[in-house]
Symmetry: D2
Subunit: 342 residues, 4 copies
């Protein structure tokens, strides 16, 4: 049996651990052969691949990124995309495809499998942890760890100068990284995309923290937006960010907090540092187990499924179902952590 593997979408610590587990178990236990497609869907579209065997995957477990490269190429938007992929798979004698990726990558896999009969098994990947059907995705724990360490560091500089420090973390549509790192880092305000924030409430928390003689840390997801977005836009505070507005909420917050409270405020945008580098032990564990279970599904001919974490078990769910909706922070959980605000 000949199995193709590809990684799509933004990179994420743990991708290499998945690839290694698939290849190790596939070769050793099942006698599979492997083809690694380059740069996500672009690989099968353009017929670019590398050989994957045990020497290829040696030593990659602790390495971030993906040895296969990645891209956001979507074959559904390419002329004749699906047919070209089928051709490549046929030409290379690929019997099944393991696709490691987020909503978009897995969405293509679901259609390839359901509509065109290409045997696909999915492995969920989203650093934002916003894929339903799985308790966690790998990469998330690493990102939260990096953000928490940064917040730890910022506390001391905030206290020394009695300044507000705003930390902008990843999370366009879901606030999981902000919520976990903010709670773990002892932040005084956490703002997430799921709930529009009230800048006056934020300033009230900031002020109350200073009254207790401590300096506040505000953690904000890149996708968080203020309640009265219109007013914000009207007074011109936001439009200087133009089309990169989403990545600018941190700086906007610092300026507004300074203007409204009279306290000095500074912003740190963690950016790509959150998604690079060696995966945490938890992510290596999760990614490895995802890989082992994905190749089991391939071996058993169980197609159209995605592996997922439920408690401490790895289960299989239909890909289509898994990508149907975004997993966001529910209001109860946000309220639960709100006891630490201010």
């Amino acid at each position: 049996m000949r199995v193709g593997v590809l990684t799509g979408g933004g990179d994420c610590p743990g991708l290499n651990a998945v690839i290694r587990a698939i290849v190790r178990k596939g070769v050793q236990e099942y006698g599979h052969e492997f083809v690694g497609f380059r740069d996500g869907w672009r690989g099968p579209l353009e017929g670019r691949s590398i050989r994957l065997d045990i020497p290829t995957v040696r030593g990659i477990l602790p390495r971030g990124g993906t040895i296969l490269g990645s891209s956001r190429t979507n074959p559904l938007k390419e002329e004749d995309g699906i047919r070209r992929i089928k051709d490549t798979l046929a030409r290379q004698g690929v019997d099944a495809l393991v696709t490691i990726g987020g909503e978009d990558t897995l969405g293509v896999a679901a259609r390839l499998c359901d509509e065109y009969g290409v045997p696909c098994v999915g492995v969920p990947k989203t650093i934002d942890n916003d894929l339903s059907a799985t308790d966690y995705t790998f990469g998330f724990d690493t990102a939260v760890g990096i953000a928490t360490e940064a917040i730890d560091r910022l506390h001391t500089t905030a206290e020394s100068h009695m300044r507000v420090l705003v930390v902008e973390v990843m999370g366009r549509h879901a606030g999981w990284i902000a919520l976990h790192s903010g709670l773990a880092g002892g932040a005084n305000v956490i703002l997430i995309p799921e709930q529009r924030f009230d800048i006056e409430q934020v300033c009230a928390w900031v002020t109350s923290r200073f009254r207790a003689s401590y300096a506040p840390i505000v953690v904000v997801a890149e996708g968080a937006v203020p309640k009265d977005g219109d007013v914000v836009l009207k007074d011109g505070s936001l439009d200087s960010f133009g089309h990169v507005r989403l990545s600018g909420v941190g700086e906007w917050l610092a300026k507004e907090i300074e203007r409204r409270t009279g306290k000095e405020a500074r912003t740190t945008v963690l950016g790509h540092v959150q998604r690079g580098g060696t995966p945490s032990a938890f992510d290596r564990w999760l990614a490895t187990r995802f890989g082992l279970h994905a190749i089991d599904a391939v071996h058993e001919g169980d197609h159209g499924v995605m592996v997922a974490l439920r408690g401490t078990d790895i289960v299989r769910v239909p890909i289509a179902e898994a990508t149907a909706r975004l997993k966001t922070v529910n209001p109860e959980l946000y309220t639960e952590v709100g006891v630490f605000f201010g």
Copy 2:
């Protein structure tokens, strides 16, 4: 309402996060007052306590250890122990007790609650992750992270000298730390207490790794034992360790591997480093949520329960049930990771 808090057993990163969450929510939301008992059950036995309020718990979230101190004192083994505890609680006007600890500490809480009517709520704590009823306990992720980082470091020194490196990690009765850190660290052999190991099989894995021109890493839980323990004892290899035999399996392994394979082998015993220091982000998150839910249970008068993690939810389970049996590594999971051995 006046709530007592104590931490018992071995220390564990995240204890302070639990204490902080209990006090923050208890004071702010419910108006509770708090008494912190010193050094586990010794505190209420001897009437030693400190005041716990919001200033006391400030800044303790990222700190390892426990500001309350800990001990292994068991009031059931003390003359008149339970009565003395009841007296202390009555004298100090304590209405309910949150006990943070492992099997022993919680076992006492269960009896105090069930047999003597003292309202208790439990928070599970075991760095070995061997408490059933909860998916994870805090401290475990930190320990696994530290052990994984150590294994990462040992790979390069093993390769440079083409030596076997044996890493002994915590785990007397359960091999969770060995299993997780061994898998995350890319170990070539993982030995756990749940399955007696065959030294000849270990040597075969070691030899096969050298044949592939790589140096092997062997991760062993402190409680792992060889299959033919008697033979081992008879030839005297083990008895030099005397009563600390359990902490000696790493050194014994290195000697046996050297003797049987002719390859140089070295041992590193990670020891207390695994249980100290700042908790990982995951452990801070888990410990904080345990604290928040424990004080909710106290507030609601739901006694005799322990908080537990199930998937991503915090639930409540009867203390007695939770401590009834050890959670060990099941054979299927051990077999699953065995694909990486050798």
Copy 3:
């Protein structure tokens, strides 16, 4: 003898280690008493101070920031500033003052000592490492370590997407952090304030790196400027940063590289994360030794001096001389590391 201590300017990991060493040795060996002035020179200006004794400094060695607080207040710019400071010192019975700070803070100390006869001993502090007379200042090693770890992480994300990653690090007038972290992190381009950079050369290095099938990392000090600054300003690329232009060179670079090479480029601005948090072992060692030697100088009545590192020795130099000129990266050293560019 009664000794005052203050910390001025931006915070820096190691400040607390200096304070602890001064107090420990001063109290234990010399029987000194200590007054800690709050928030740099603002403390003696406004008469705000705290008592410093052995319990106050316990446990602060690994903590970033400064327990005394800091500010950029310059008494030479305050009406009657020097006289008010002398009054405070006299009123509080302070016999000598240890000032821990950079060029500005030490410049005031030098004048206080030389012109007004106030016995001062200086401890150099600049995270940028740009103070002449000392081989290193504490905080610098920590900052370089944090930046290097970030660069390590960015490599994997750059490779996975074949993107340029620009990392902006601290360094307004001196490129030490960029040079050390860029070299340690294996950057392909390092830009420092000491040498105006040629954007075309930068793009040539970037392109050559891609030709070798690797993704480039560009490390840039916040104070680096392009050779033809005027042209840059004229085409409007820079002026959107307004008065915070210095912190914007990273984003400007990414845009220019994208425009000129057609390759995707992203920027990470490390910001305050570099100056917060626990000091590295080297910085704790250096800061502690600075503190021990500073209090020796006070005890011996050797005023107007600053402690400094020369090789592995701590020496004393006149404060005025030490702050006379900035220590910048010399062209030979920049050329030496240039072998790794491209």
Copy 4:
């Protein structure tokens, strides 16, 4: 020109950074070709080598260990060793040899160069930092960092249980790692090989620390010995360690402290974890600069020299002189840090 490179003795973080710098500069600037000999002197003895070029050294900067392997093989003790080495060099057309190693490795290089006319340039390597003629050697800073982080972690577990924690670190003949990590970690006792320790004094410090309600950390170099070694041996406490006595001083100390003070004591032996893994930023900087300057010396035909750090400069010194005596901790420095004992 054809240049040989070898790494000898115990491995050390930074070896790969040296190799990379030599090859990068040698190939790019001077057009050298390179031969990498395997496993220290064993390589040229047995004629085993690999090709070293720019692709070979890509990506190795952050990796611990040495891609060339290492050994303690001493050609002076091998029959006809020197002649066999000369033959290999001649056969492979090697014009000069860069030897990276400690006292032993460099001692051979010095003799090869001085007595047999083989052009050698040395790069100093000792994780213990005990080579005179250079302020620091690479690997030392990494080891100190790892030991300091371990001590940080042990503080919290010591405090929680009010136990003595003994940490045994590397250092057979010189106490640099113990001294630096002990000072940086806030240890209460530091014991080094240079000064025989008085167990009663150690116990007095331990007791005084407990009286202040804190738990003591004792850092001990593996080569430290008690003052009255004879008495120790007579009562049998030490001889159970047999010929590995040096690695056992930590356990001996814990037992003696328990026996004499009645306080619980535990030992952690850091072992090989200290010498593996990714080098610190400082070590990468130092190792890289050593490599750059070593290949300059080769290019200039300046043989028989070793590169060394003096302040912030890299200089050249005669190999023979550099290895003539061990650099140990002088009594003044030990006294200086003694202010923190107890």
